[in-house]
Subunit: 364 residues, 4 copies
């Protein structure tokens, strides 16, 4: 019943795609952190619409901070950031409340909210709501960095085009940061080109396509998390499913582990200097909900954008007749392109929440 | 930081594998429900150890209800059920706190709890903790049934042996109930035989193997759930990751959706009598975190049991030297066999929680 | 660690007294409610500064709704309302971070936030934060009204001047609404005059004075609430202590009950038409955390405003020397005057939260 | 909707007065704490029934620990303690579901739970449920002690007999511990004798009487807590209202502050060695929800036991007729006598929860 997540760091998202603004309240940020606004702007730019492969809707997405900062430094009070919606064209969506778009939330939202949901542009269900998530997550990434933790993501696949996966054992901060400098955000530029070609082709067909984002974090201490229902897998999975279009989440070997034998899957412990590592990392850095100290590796599967230019048949709810629907508006042929920083944001916020919860005070 | 889940129906699990008892407190059950103890016993029996494919540890697993019932009827007060641990052999585990088993929680738990974790049999991280989950879930299944909702699961795969998947559109209560009558719990008996053969072979090698459980629910009303972070996917994923060995969760087409086009993946709305259905159900019954009224379909990937009879090398923490480890104790070569009712239990508890939250009062 | 309250209706407050804005996010409002903006403005006006007895700081306090509404009707998405701070004079507070005002949160906040707390005007601890609470509460009051529940409050006492108490048995909606039309908000105009005289005298001394607000609700169904830790007393008390300056909360006979005998205090049940009432209402409408159906009666004690014009001695933290402090800024000599609608707001939000939680769907 | 409290330290209470057992699950205790069972038994004995002034119901109340301990040391897993109900006489309560006792929860519970509440001995609403609270709280007191924090309480008043109040400035550990050695638990033995005489007289009349418990904690660091809704006042008040019969909670000067002037109430800061203290402590050690480092002082008002031997008239629900009621069973004429350790337990648990939340790791 809630557009918020977090135990000690509470992130509360508000706004509708074509309302006045979208925004976020972040409660529990440590005081004394000096936000790097330029770095935040660069992070936000990675999610921003634009480019030949993404929606032509163009908005600066510059957050205005209403609270929580004094001279750019966190003061311990909840931080509220607001992004005004300046470029909405609600007329594009006039008919959607009666003619629900297939595989979008229009229909279940109409049922749940008794016809009062804001159907314009998907309302509160829109990918636009990931902009404020990135404001909060961009700040979390900076704080984690100060605590020796780096989070990064790349596009693991679009359709059947696959990028090189992260090396779950030898992953470096450079590997994590590299994809952000490329469009699409991949490790292997050749795979990126193939993805771009595929997306252009799909877009040319008036269609869309899904993909997978792989995210990892290094520098996590061992021992972070909890057994059973409040561990890092539980919380990160729950939060990642809060990104529109995510339909699957897996850690480490994930679904592939289901086809493996124990002798193959088990990660043997080894000594590394004074520390303990594992020779492989099928666990994705988590055992029993608790970090092992190895890189945390998680993947989120995104379905293809449901809003496609192709004509579709759907049901006109008011008369129960089949009708044709052509979705206008501006839509990404592949949300995965812009989802990469969003996955990083959610992962960073989840880790920061757990770090604050278990360490009490951290470096800012 | 918590072995509990649920918003309005709070399920709190306690116990260690080789402690005195395991148990559960369920807070928020509606009053006036007459528990069918025989049906609950049958449900518990599906999870119980035994059979040629499972651990030889044999315990009756009969819960004792300490509270919450008056003459077998829920009274509104928290229900506490306790299952005594009668057949523990802690000697089997004496060395494990220094010699962590690969891919088990021994090592991160030792770090988190500063060496004080109960290492015997996995302690609080053991699959044994799923017994009290099944007590709570078995009750939830009965209450859901009274509200027209049926939940069932089957083994979708063991290794590379696949069962027929649930039909996500035409699924019936009979389909959901059928696997429970078979060992292994499958839709297609031929697949079940192949699974049994594979597991026997793997066990013979002193090894283990992973698998996938597919679970579905029918009879859910459309409109149940919430956008963003507290929807049915968030909550069910979080809770399913609370089952030991789960490494991936997906809804509907899940990871396969990442390779699909929108025109292929979108589920067209159709009229069915007075209601609204979709012609396909790639969504797995959830859009924007809210039920569509179509069958809810979720799959959980289980890694292979980390405790294998084969000799493994691991690290002796006290001296940092490599050492060989032969896990004794009693372990399932494939936890998926016994995980089927556990997945049903967690799914039922999650749905019941949401139903209570949104409907306030339900049929008991 | 959190500036929010509520289980199903989550109210999240943000802002600092002299920052850009204060505001609120309300998550969980039922969809389809048509907000009466004029009534909300009248409610807000009761809290607004001004008048001869209150702070001369004058701000329109008109909320801007950034989300949650479509054409003035709730759409189910979180509602965000922002009130810009237009009339701040931070210079008044320049020295306070080093020279903490006695009995204000300056010092503990400086410790907790390592010197980074926003000290200007009390920052996030300021009574200014009650403005967004009143936005949320004003909406809750309207929704409760549609469900037959009326909430109202009056000043029970200022210093040793006492108003007539609410009649806890025969209380009517007229009684509840009447005080709002008076300044100060009392039942007995004579008591109000005496209070005004006292406050003027205290203000003339450069001093301040405390008081008690009594709040009641009628129309509550019996059976709302829960035993032990999540009942109406627990939740309402917790939330009322969230109003700056509250130091005590009591229900029904409250502290006076401690001096009573059971035979005197017990409220005998009586029949009233088809219903059940009590002949007296020392319980204040709550037994075992659950409503009895009788009027809910709660009182909150407010300490005198710590910011007084009189010179005080305090500690200069930087050198540990005693120093004199003269608080400038604009301060109410008696916060109780403006706290009346705030107590109503918090009470209404708490009740609405419980109503939504237990009834699922309510009238809008 | 929940019989639990706590953010990071979750305390979940279960049981009914005349069911099989009462108990508690405590999730989040730090690992490695060696419980002093003898000290716990002594603490439990202070709450135990018996003595000439209390109910003649006599039970050993020895908890059995089902989980969370290995060789008496906490292992990080949830601790479950169960106290069997050995001495129940349900026949005493046979008629109460139809003939609700005035000012007990019988009637609202019957409404809420549709007639299925366990009416025997008050069921889940009984003072018996404070026994498991004391198990958890007794452990919390021991852990706090290791962190330099001492919590103690005394009977501030019974009827109109008042004990000497705690000195809120100069309070020592000896002051806090002293009352526990006396019966009744007072600072001034003369006041204790007067209370005993009064209670004996009231009991002789077949009546009961209320009272106030004052509790304090010393050794708290400054800076613990949070503004607005999750501070120490909010949380402690909410939890104290979870003790049956509590009708009011106040901190520091509390309701008396409402009659004070700011110049009188404000606590001036003073230097003490390297630290900061206040010359008076009307704040009761809390400003803005955050500890000041001065003694925390809280008082809880208890209503008179509603179960009195005197004949009362009440309503027979089944026919709506007035009827006479003579409560049999065994009841304390003044619950305050046995409530002293319960208030300590709840206070200790609340403080420990906040300490764990903010410090992450503490001394065990």
């Amino acid at each position: 019943m809630s557009s918020q997540f977090g135990n000690r760091l509470k992130v509360s998202i508000f706004g509708q795609s074509h309302g006045d603004a979208v925004g976020v309240v972040v409660d529990g940020l440590p005081a004394g952190f000096h936000m790097d606004k330029a770095a935040l702007a660069r992070f936000m730019a990675r999610r921003a619409p634009g480019g030949t492969l993404a929606t032509p809707r163009s908005e600066a997405d510059t957050p205005r901070f209403l609270s929580g900062l004094v001279d750019g430094v966190t003061c311990g009070a909840p931080l509220c950031a607001v992004i005004e919606n300046t470029n909405t064209r609600s007329g594009d969506y006039a008919d959607l409340s009666d003619l629900p778009r297939p595989s979008h939330a229009d229909y279940p939202a109409a049922v749940k909210y008794h016809g009062f949901a804001d159907a314009r542009g998907g309302g509160h269900f829109s990918g636009r709501l990931t902009a404020p998530v990135c404001v909060a997550g961009g700040i979390a990434l900076q704080i984690l960095q100060k605590n020796g933790i780096t989070v990064g993501a790349h596009i693991a696949s679009v359709g059947d085009v696959h990028d090189t996966p992260f090396d779950p054992v030898a992953l470096t901060a450079d590997d994590l940061i590299a994809p952000a400098a490329r469009t699409p955000a991949v490790l292997d530029p050749t795979a990126g080109e193939a993805m771009a070609t595929l997306i252009a082709s799909v877009a040319g067909d008036g269609d869309s396509i899904g993909g997978v984002v792989e995210c990892a974090a290094i520098g996590l201490p061992a021992g972070l998390g909890a057994p059973l229902y409040d561990g890092i897998e539980n919380r990160l999975a729950a939060n990642l499913f809060g990104i529109p279009a995510v339909k699957g989440v897996e850690f480490g070997a994930g679904f592939a582990a289901a086809a493996m034998r124990g002798s193959e899957h088990n990660d043997p412990y080894r000594r590394a200097g004074m520390g303990v590592v594992t020779a492989t990392n099928h666990a994705g850095g988590v055992l029993g909900g608790i970090t092992t100290g190895m890189p945390l590796v998680v993947r989120a599967a995104f379905k293809p954008t449901p809003s496609i230019a192709k004509e579709q048949t759907t049901l006109r709810l008011s008369n129960g007749e089949l009708d044709t629907l052509t979705v206008r508006g501006r839509h990404d042929p592949c949300v995965v392109l812009r989802a990469v920083p969003v996955v990083e944001a959610v992962t960073a916020l989840t880790i920061l929440d757990m770090l604050l919860e278990e360490k009490g005070e951290i470096t800012v």
